[in-house]
């Protein structure tokens, strides 16, 4: 099984092809990952983002990893549809999103296990501040006949400020029995217990909140090799705190 966001991924780190978009993410993008190849799609957004729809078709024994560091300052609907069309196909999706101001951000990262013996992990982490609202509503679909598939949807949101909110609704649509499917969702304020633990060591409330937030968003950085992008993510996280 693929590892959660803050753990090292089990997926091979060498990809046949890497595509990176910083800020200028195209709408209507369609990517084909041919048989026995792999694709890494790195997305980072720091400015204003509009609605986007991306489709990825993954062939036999192929891998797709999508990573999105979203620190954009606008409202939008982001939709990702990954079709695992060939046996042995893999998909790993990692999202970290910081939502601020009065932005309403909707993420729908979905995967369809068209072929049997495919696996996918869709992992979404978010923080909402001010009066913003974040929605994670991905669908993992396993049609009839797609046996021996493994799929997991994770959606976690920390609601930071009293006027902000979030909805995490990872959906599984399963039409066959012989599959391993799971989903997890959590939306909540910063844990009082966690804050108390950190404060009891002398860390101020503000610093404790900063440390917890860093822990939530910073792991996305590990998927980027480019130091200038890492630096921008660091800056965006610090700015958001």
């Amino acid at each position: 099984m693929l590892a959660p966001l803050n753990q090292k991924s089990s997926m091979e780190n060498k990809f046949s092809k890497t595509i990176t978009y910083v800020d200028d993410i195209p709408d209507g993008l369609v990517l084909d990952v041919k048989d026995d190849t792999s694709l890494l799609l790195l997305l980072a957004s720091f400015g204003s983002l509009s609605d986007k729809k991306i489709t990825v078709n993954v062939g036999r024994n192929s891998s797709f990893r999508g990573v999105f560091a979203d620190f954009s300052s606008s409202s939008f609907n982001f939709s990702l549809n990954v079709n695992l069309n060939g046996e042995g196909g893999e998909c790993e999706w990692r999202l970290a999103s910081l939502s601020r101001g009065d932005n309403k951000k909707v993420f729908e990262p979905s995967v369809t296990h068209v072929a049997p013996r495919t696996q996918a992990l869709m992992s979404n982490y978010g923080i909402t501040r001010d009066s913003s609202y974040l929605t994670f509503a991905g669908v993992s679909a396993i049609p009839h006949g797609s046996v021996k598939t493994v799929t997991r949807q994770e959606a976690k949101i920390i609601v930071f400020d009293p006027l902000s909110g979030g909805r995490a609704s990872p959906i599984l649509r399963i039409a066959d029995n012989n599959v391993d499917a799971s989903h997890a969702a959590s939306v909540g304020r910063l844990s009082e217990e966690h804050l108390f633990y950190l404060e009891s060591r002398g860390v101020s409330l503000e610093e404790a909140k900063r440390l917890i937030t860093l822990g939530y968003l910073k792991p996305i950085e590990t998927y980027f090799d480019d130091d200038s992008i890492k630096a921008r993510i660091d800056k965006a996280i610090e700015g958001g705190l």
């Binding site: 803050n6 609202y133 949101i157 609601v159 009293p162 006027l163 902000s164 909110g165 979030g166 909805r167 995490a168 609704s169 990872p170 989903h183 997890a184 969702a185 959590s186 939306v187 909540g188 304020r189 844990s191 009082e192 217990e193 966690h194 108390f196 633990y197 950190l198 404060e199 009891s200 060591r201 002398g202 860390v203 101020s204 409330l205 610093e207 404790a208 440390l211 917890i212 860093l214 822990g215 939530y216 910073k218 792991p219």
Partner: protein
């Protein structure tokens, strides 16, 4: 010499009174064994001293060298020299242990530590607690075994060097070897003059750290105080003799109300904005 002084302390949890007039004093250099049946308020006392927001102080006072502890935020209590090793240390997802320890150590100093000095201290503390230094790169307490968490608590105590350290069942989940390591860390701090308030259900830890005094908390009050001989007596005979000798009826476990649990749609969570 530092003195933690607790006078006529009343504490409630979700409206249920747990502590009902606790009087206790711990001085730097002393080790006080805090005993008592389950559910009578031992952990509540330690949590209230440290300022856990789930516990409401409804009466009485806590002072450290004359400073009103109850008026201080939790982090300031730590900076004043109080430390609580928790029974169930929190796992903090994504928070690197070393980053956290650096923040905690710097919070206790006027000027941030130099990186070299910090790593030196860190390496020494990990070596003393016999925790592989590699674990400093892991997320705080995440995936740690029960014993590793407890040793990690003591590691923090060594790094922060408190005036008064409170240990809440630090020996639970420890094997014999780990118990020796933890006891050695306590003895080291005892030699430096740190005062200890120690809760344990087992005489074994107390045998290793030699408390100077004992206090027994029953029905939310200190029922008996005395020397370390009380530990042995309770270890052998339980608490019934307190009823026989002092005429105190030991109430059954004081139950704090449980958290309200609600079960919603499967794996769908939403936060209602602004209470609506």
């Amino acid at each position: 010499m530092s003195t933690l002084s607790i006078k006529n302390l009343y504490v409630s949890v979700k409206g249920t009174p747990i502590l009902r007039g606790v009087n206790l004093e711990i001085k730097e250099g002393e080790t006080l064994a805090l005993l008592g049946p389950n559910g009578h308020g031992k952990s509540t006392l330690l949590a209230a001293i440290m300022g856990n927001p789930s516990y409401t102080v409804t009466g009485g006072s806590i002072t450290l060298d004359g400073t009103d502890v109850l008026s201080l935020s939790v982090d300031k209590r730590s900076k004043e020299g109080l430390f609580l090793a928790m029974q169930y240390p929190s796992e903090i997802p994504g928070l690197n242990s070393a980053d956290f320890l650096k923040s905690a150590m710097n919070a206790h100093r006027e000027k941030p530590m130099k990186l070299f000095e910090f790593y030196n201290s860190l390496q020494n503390a990990y070596a003393e607690m016999q925790i592989p230094f590699e674990m400093s790169k892991r997320n705080l307490n995440e995936g740690f075994s029960g014993g590793e968490k407890k040793r990690n608590e003591m590691l923090q105590m060594l790094l922060l060097e408190p005036k008064i350290a409170m240990l809440d069942e630090i020996d639970s989940g420890l094997d014999v070897d780990a118990m020796q390591i933890v006891a050695e860390a306590i003895r080291k701090q005892q030699a430096k003059g740190t005062g200890f308030l120690v809760i344990s259900h087992y005489a074994r830890l107390y045998d290793m750290i030699h408390p100077t005094r004992s206090a027994v908390l029953i029905n939310g009050k200190i029922a008996v105080t005395g020397g370390p001989d009380i530990i042995e007596r309770i270890d052998k005979n339980g608490y019934e003799w307190i009823h026989d000798e002092y005429g105190i009826d030991i109430e059954k476990e004081i139950d704090a109300p449980m958290n309200t649990v609600s079960i919603g749609a499967c794996a769908t969570k939403s936060k209602i904005v602004n209470g609506k």
